[in-house]
């Protein structure tokens, strides 16, 4: 069932979304998460909102949440960096219980990353005070529910990093 490259089946992620009644996914596809595209866009209970630039996602998600829709944001770590002012002025200032799913470009479990995008990702999250969890395989998918519960209990954004090891 699992994608050979990632050990993570998109249906495992969708199952977590359904458990948590997620209705909207605001997304700019990236190399780390494109394996989910077909499953997410073809599900009748999930509305995918595509954007042109990652910083749009958090503001759109804030509007959707305001209107009562349970929403998740999905961008690459490079897009997370791009979104800094929206994280500050919207997600953190409004205390949004928002799940940020982040494609972890450059992630390596073994060895040393050569990608500065990966090098700065966790430093970036630490500096904003955003808790995060790493998902690499189906057995980690339950952390999506956990991250959502933390976001809602503490009224703050929480990140899930979608790791994929490059050879």
């Amino acid at each position: 069932m699992s994608d050979n490259a990632t050990g993570l089946d998109p249906r495992s992620i969708l199952k977590e979304f359904k458990l948590n009644k997620i209705s909207h996914l605001v997304w700019l596809p990236d190399s780390e998460t494109n394996f989910m595209y077909q499953v997410m866009t073809s599900d009748k209970d999930l509305t995918v909102v595509p954007v042109c630039r990652e910083a749009e996602t958090i503001a759109i998600a804030a509007g959707l949440q305001l209107g009562g829709k349970r929403t998740v944001v999905l961008v690459q770590n490079t897009g997370l960096f791009e979104s800094g002012d929206s994280i500050r002025g919207i997600a953190l200032d409004l205390k949004l219980p928002l799940l940020l799913m982040i494609g972890y470009r450059g992630w390596v479990r073994h060895g040393i990353t050569k990608d500065s995008a990966a090098f700065y990702t966790e430093h970036f999250l630490h500096s904003w005070g955003i808790d995060y969890y790493l998902i690499e395989s189906d057995s980690d998918a339950h952390l999506i529910s956990h991250a959502l519960s933390i976001a809602e209990a503490n009224s703050k954004p929480v990140a899930v990093l979608l790791g994929r090891e490059y050879s």
Partner: protein, 191 residues
């Protein structure tokens, strides 16, 4: 060129029960004319994101009309929003741009493409159902009722007078803010 405060008064007189999302310099003036601050979502920081915030709400609440009051500098900072909105095409969204060609908040420096960029044409080619531009207040007044009744997304570019924003930093921080209004409105939609 249109006086910005007069334009806001006209918008206010036609808003009905719409949610209004003003940003940057328009936010300051909107607070002077709004009769329904409980239905305002003023975005002071996060320059450029008022349209994205308004889009999200319009998608979540399709029976609620959402009016975004943007600026040309703000729109340039998030120009892709036109394509994102055009793609989603919410029928309940009206996007108004106050186009004065300058960054009024920082001392009236010209924005890139000042008075050259055709924002109405950008919106139309991005997928808005209709797109309009006005240079005279009388023309805007005579059209606004019909425009607000149109199926959205509707884009309206207003060529407004250049006007320096001389607020102090403290005065700017005291303006209506999203942090105060967001939770109140969230309760409204939850009820």
């Amino acid at each position: 060129m249109i006086n910005p405060l007069e334009a806001l008064k006209i918008i206010e007189s036609h808003r009905g029960s719409s949610v209004v999302v003003p940003t940057m310099q328009s936010n300051r003036r909107w607070s002077l004319v709004s009769s329904r601050p409980d239905l305002d979502l003023p975005l002071t920081g996060c320059m450029g994101k008022a349209s994205s915030l308004g889009l999200g709400l319009a998608l979540a609440q399709p029976k609620t009309k959402v009016i975004i009051i943007d600026g040309d500098g703000s729109l340039l900072m998030n120009l892709g929003t036109l394509v994102t909105i055009g793609e989603q095409a919410p029928a309940n969204l009206i996007h108004i741009s106050f186009d004065n060609g300058v960054y009024a908040t920082t001392g009236s420096q010209p924005v890139p493409g000042s008075h050259k960029v055709d924002f109405a044409a950008c919106a139309k080619s991005s997928g808005y159902r209709s797109s309009h531009q006005f240079e005279h207040l009388e023309d805007f007044i005579s059209s606004i009722e019909d425009l607000f009744a149109e199926e959205g997304p509707v884009f309206i570019n207003l060529k407004i007078q250049e006007d320096l924003d001389d607020l102090s930093a403290d005065e700017r921080m005291a303006m209506p803010s999203l942090v105060k209004n967001y939770p109140v409105m969230k309760d409204l939609f939850a009820s």
